[in-house]
């Protein structure tokens, strides 16, 4: 009886393993390949240099000239700047996720024991994890430096985390739209162009229609309050929900198309 149960458990685990192992392999490979790509490294280093340089510059003003510099306002400015350059960067870094490998590397992977669903999910989540992971590390580093070097009496740790989560979620939605176009377009250039136009048009439409709280203007004005801890948690959760709803919808549409298309 016991041995039969053990055997059944083993076979279930084995079935689960072969279902998840290909997905995990693609996810891990995508994560590594993204971190290895020169465009990701250049983009991240550029962002890091700009953000850290700005914090150090304001710290120098504070310490040398004695002009008070508030960490909350510096961080809010940086988060706002990320809203301006982040979407373009996310699109550049995500538009080639699938399109760049069509007919070449994708053949070598999709001719093995992996379904299109697992491949897409692995590529999407791997790319997203690498992009958001890099930005999260950078955000925390900037927060730490601002906290240490600048006046931080009005800085809320929890509020900063909420603001960072909101920023990353919006960027995740934009990166997913980039991956969506990468899955449906035959070339990276076309995916990049379409994603850029659609994301910026959609941002403008959301702003004008006021349908969701995650349009650029709302976030722009929101960040300083969030970072100081003056926020309504429910409103933040709702905004996060919107961002992830957009991301999930784009991913769902992309996977449905990709699972049926020619490579």
């Amino acid at each position: 009886m016991v041995s039969a149960t053990v055997s059944a458990t083993r076979s279930v685990l084995s079935a689960l393993r072969w279902r998840w192992l290909p997905f995990a392999a693609v996810l891990g490979m995508e994560w590594r390949q993204t971190w290895r790509s020169w465009i990701f490294r250049v983009g991240t280093l550029l962002l890091a240099a700009l953000a850290l340089g700005y914090v150090l510059h304001r710290a120098a003003i504070y310490h040398q000239a004695g002009i008070v510099q508030s960490a909350s306002s510096i961080l809010a400015e940086l988060w706002q700047a990320s809203l301006v350059i982040g979407p373009t960067l996310m699109i550049i870094l995500s538009a080639g996720t699938i399109a760049s490998e069509r007919g070449t590397l994708a053949d070598s992977v999709l001719s093995r024991g992996i379904s299109r669903y697992a491949y897409f999910l692995g590529k999407w989540l791997g790319r997203l994890a690498a992009l958001l992971g890099g930005l999260l590390l950078l955000g925390l580093l900037v927060w730490f430096l601002a906290y240490v070097l600048l006046r931080h009496e009005d800085l809320s740790f929890l509020g900063t985390l909420w603001a960072l989560a909101l920023l990353l979620s919006v960027l995740a939605a934009i990166a997913t739209i980039g991956v969506f176009f990468s899955a449906i377009c035959p070339s990276t250039a076309l995916a990049l162009m379409l994603a850029w136009v659609i994301v910026h048009s959609a941002g403008a439409l959301l702003w004008l229609s006021g349908l969701t709280p995650i349009h650029p203007q709302a976030l722009w004005t929101w960040f300083p309050f969030l970072i100081r801890g003056q926020y309504d948690a429910w409103a933040v959760v709702r905004a996060l929900g919107w961002a992830w709803l957009i991301a999930s919808s784009a991913a769902l549409l992309a996977v449905v198309h990709f699972s049926r298309c020619d490579l």
């Binding site: 393993r17 072969w18 279902r19 192992l21 290909p22 995990a24 392999a25 693609v26 490979m29 590594r32 390949q33 290895r36 070449t104 590397l105 053949d107 070598s108 992977v109 999709l110 001719s111 093995r112 024991g113 992996i114 379904s115 299109r116 669903y117 697992a118 699972s259 049926r260 298309c261 020619d262 490579l263």
Partner: protein, 332 residues
């Protein structure tokens, strides 16, 4: 799986790209277990398209593909777990070593660490990449990448191997090893080998499928293909006066059943017209020989190498012109 289930089966398989290009046209094919199928055809004949359809990398516009008795689709991962594939131009992720690449391939097939690690080590040794197994693949020569792709195609111990141009660009020694490997593997597995090199196909394949402009113009055994083409070409070694032999040549050239006749010293080469009985044509030839008192020392059906048979087949197909439309309707 039942014994009589074909390993690969296609019915009316058609692929049209964006209503602009017909890559494959009504291909019906069946491959039994243990066969080695050589897929041949000129450039752009649809060989790679057919292989990609068999793997589910593309979806048919019409018709269907069954592999191991089940429909192949882009999501049929369970079927692809039993297939080993070498693409025509293997590509590898950047920055990987052969060990990392084969490990990745093993994971894509859902192989556990205990299964894939020993297997990849054995394969790297077999394809003679053991001493460069820690080097980046980016620096490899073409021959080395083909060997690595070969190892990747075998990591899951597949039942069906689909190799697209496996000998392309290999040096003679590597090509010989590849052909020997195909011969060895054919004892346990079913293989589909696409190739431009007909002497390779001749050497290792038991069956051949000839594609021309996306259409399957021949599918069957190699012997049959050669035999089919051979039936119209004969060589006769003659004995008699030179003057009489020359007269025979003239008579033979005048026969309606004879397409071409040539005399090389005392050997008469005759190519018969495509239609009509060969025996009747030969009877007329023998009559001419007897009338001129020329004896026959030997008669043989001039064997054609596969290459010649293939070229003749493609030529015949092209020469049929609009008549092809009629045979299509008959087949349908």
């Amino acid at each position: 799986m039942a014994e009589d289930v074909a390993i690969v089966e296609t019915q009316h398989l058609t692929k049209i790209y964006h209503n602009r290009r017909i890559a494959l046209n009504d291909v019906t094919l069946e491959l039994p277990a243990g066969a080695v199928l050589g897929l041949v055809g000129p450039n752009g004949a649809g060989k790679t398209t057919l292989l990609r359809l068999l793997l589910g990398l593309q979806r048919p516009t019409a018709g269907w593909v069954k592999v191991f008795g089940q429909y192949m689709t882009p999501n049929a991962a369970h079927l692809r777990r039993r297939i080993g594939y070498i693409p025509a131009q293997p590509q590898f992720p950047k920055g990987l070593t052969p060990i990392a690449y084969l490990d990745y391939m093993g994971r894509l097939f859902g192989l556990s660490r205990q299964e894939r690690k020993p297997r990849l080590a054995a394969l790297l040794r077999a394809v003679e990449l053991l001493d460069v197994s820690g080097e980046p693949i980016a620096g490899f020569s073409h021959g080395m990448t083909v060997r690595l792709a070969l190892a990747a195609s075998l990591i899951n111990d597949p039942e069906l191997l689909i190799w697209d141009e496996p000998t392309h660009g290999l040096d003679p020694e590597a090509r010989r090893s590849m052909l020997e490997l195909i011969k060895n593997l054919s004892q346990q597995k079913t293989l589909i080998v696409s190739s431009h090199n007909l002497s390779d196909v001749d050497e290792v394949c038991t069956q051949v499928a000839v594609l021309s402009e996306g259409h399957l113009i021949y599918s069957g055994s190699l012997q049959e293909l050669r035999g089919k083409m051979r039936g119209r070409h004969f060589e006769l070694e003659l004995d008699g006066e030179q003057k009489a032999i020359a007269k025979v040549l003239q008579t033979v050239r005048g026969l309606a059943e004879v397409k071409q006749a040539q005399l090389r010293q005392r050997r008469l080469d005759i190519v018969l017209q495509d239609n009509g009985l060969a025996s009747s044509a030969l009877a007329s030839v023998f009559m001419a020989l007897a009338d001129n008192k020329v004896d026959v020392l030997s008669l043989r059906s001039a064997g054609q190498p596969t290459e010649q048979a293939f070229l003749q087949l493609v030529e015949q197909e092209e020469a049929r012109g609009f008549a092809r439309a009629w045979s299509y309707r008959e087949a349908a």
